[in-house]
């Protein structure tokens, strides 16, 4: 069954008097346990598509079904619920709250889900152990390295058991070695049965995915499965 089904969606922004067609006519489906990379130069509409997929934004026209339910005409609160329960975001700049330690950062989505404190603690702790940060639970972001911060962010994305993980340039702020480690972590997460959507403009990052969707000028230029997929070695940062 498709998790995501998009048919002929378009997004038009108004900038002053001019209309900007960020997305013109995009259709795609993403199934459970897929590992998809969305690629494209800046201005191709990949950020817009990403926001749409993440239910942060709604399309101007077209159909977007998330697990068979139309998202296009949902209210703000319903969208917030979908984001909370079905989607895990990973950002380029990590977006951790500086005054919260690792476990509180990871807990945050569960707070909005209304999960009681003890269960929250437990699940957040498990998520941190899963990303290899079991010994950094009480560290604040400024006491962690870039890679570790991104791992906290990934733990935060995973903690609600979402249907999809949406990662926007997750290695963009990391050196290549650390980036590789993060990609290995994504690989591992994918192996466990998660669905991952990766937005990137770097070819070698995209090649970690099983499928690459290339956007150009608000249209899908190419949608293909990767033949020579790059599988990272599974090793952990010590």
């Amino acid at each position: 069954m498709n998790i995501i089904r998009i048919e002929h969606i378009a997004k038009i922004y108004k900038v002053g008097t001019e209309e900007v067609h960020a997305l013109r006519d995009v259709s795609l489906t993403i199934d459970k346990n897929e590992y998809v990379a969305i690629m494209g130069p800046s201005g191709s509409g990949k950020s817009t598509l990403m926001n749409m997929l993440g239910c942060l934004d709604t399309p101007t026209s077209g159909l977007y079904q998330f697990k068979g339910v139309s998202v296009s005409d949902m209210t703000d609160n319903q969208l917030a619920n979908i984001r909370n329960q079905e989607i895990g975001f990973v950002f380029q700049t990590f977006n951790l709250l500086a005054r919260y330690d690792a476990i509180h950062n990871v807990e945050l989505p569960l707070v909005y889900a209304g999960v009681p404190k003890n269960e929250r603690r437990e699940r957040a702790k498990r998520a941190l152990i899963d990303v290899g940060l079991g010994d950094r639970i009480a560290h604040k972001p400024n006491e962690l390295s870039g890679g570790q911060r991104q791992r906290v962010a990934i733990a935060r994305a995973l903690v609600t058991n979402p249907s999809i993980i949406l990662a926007d340039e997750p290695t963009g702020n990391l050196d290549s070695k650390t980036g590789e480690e993060i990609m290995a972590l994504f690989h591992e997460i994918h192996q466990k049965g998660n669905t991952i959507i990766l937005v990137t403009h770097e070819e070698y990052i995209a090649e970690h995915a099983a499928r690459i969707i290339r956007l150009k000028d608000g249209l899908i230029e190419k949608d293909e499965f990767v033949e020579k997929r790059y599988v990272p070695e599974l090793k952990r940062e010590q």
């Binding site: 917030a80 005054r99 209304g114």
Partner: protein, 411 residues
Amino acid sequence: MRILLFELKEGLIIALRAIVSNKIRSLLTMLGIFIGVAVVITMSTAIKGIDNSFQSGISSLGTDVLYVDKWAWFTNQEWWKIRNRRNITMEEYYRFKDLVKLPVAVAPVTNTIQTIKYNERRVENVFVNGSTADYVKTTNFTFAEGRFYSETESNAARQVAVIGSEIAKKIFPNISPLDKTIKIGGHNYKVVGVLAEQGSFVLGPWNPDNQVYIPIETIFKNFFNRSFRTITINVRANGPAMVEETKAEIEGVMRNVRGLTYNMENDFSINQQEGLQRSYDSIVGVIQIAGLFITGLSLFVGAIGIMNIMFVSVKERTKEIGLRKAIGAKRRTILSQFLLESSLICLVGGLAGLIAAIIISLLINQFIPTSIQIDSVLIGIGVSLLTGVISGFAPAYTAAKMDAVEALRYE
């Protein structure tokens, strides 16, 4: 309901973290509310205290006492017309006293301002009242020690005195004044009675506590002769219900005594404390409004401070708001988070202000009476919470309706 409580609890924790992570800023913001609430509460307790004190002071005058006087306490008549009235004399008092039937007590009163001395201690500018033994029946006086002077002492112009509680405190700080000999304007008097505390500082020199009472005949003997100035006749009606009737009677009797014919105006006035009450009410009303307005301004300035800081805080945390929205915070949640933050700041500042106000009130109480009431405490808490909600609303609303995509992109 449970969800609401959960959100409230989590929102409080989040707000608390935000406040604590910005200690100095939060403290300075609280200071604004602290000062605002402190002055508003202090002001209102002071006004309340003065008012209470006045009310008790004025009731020590008696609601059923009428003052037949040459002078009117409150009048629209021209001053010279009143000044040209004939003095009220002792002879008129005697005839008046014989003719009236309704009053329970009638007493002539005159006064002089003198210095009171006992050994080295002295009090200057004291109202010394001269009257008869019946005077005490026209008042609600209670005695700390001793008694009022008797009819015999009064008629015989004895050198005896009854002193108010404040006077007693000043010249007899450690010993009982009873039977001691004090000097009033150079003459010796034996103290036969000391009043218990009666009234109120707001009455100033008219406060019985600051006065001395001697027989009227003694005043005429020691200080001036009986036709030197007009006297006042204090008349007590038989209870407040009888005031109007008594007033009518004494007006008629007084006109008769003064030999006024039907076409002549009264050449005397019948005063009562009701008039005092009225003019007091209007003065206090103005003080109250002006005082609360001025102190309210400082609270308003504090509120603007909160609003300002909350706007800054929202702007600063744009990215955080974007993130919170991305991971599932609803508008309502963001709104309540910031509202809770501003309310919490106000509440803490307000409570501190309240405590300060109570301390200040207790200090002021040494000089003028203040009255801390449970309602002003509740008002203090309520006002600070309300300030928090009102001044926090616009910033919180801005945060709540932020576009998540743009907020996340904000640097």
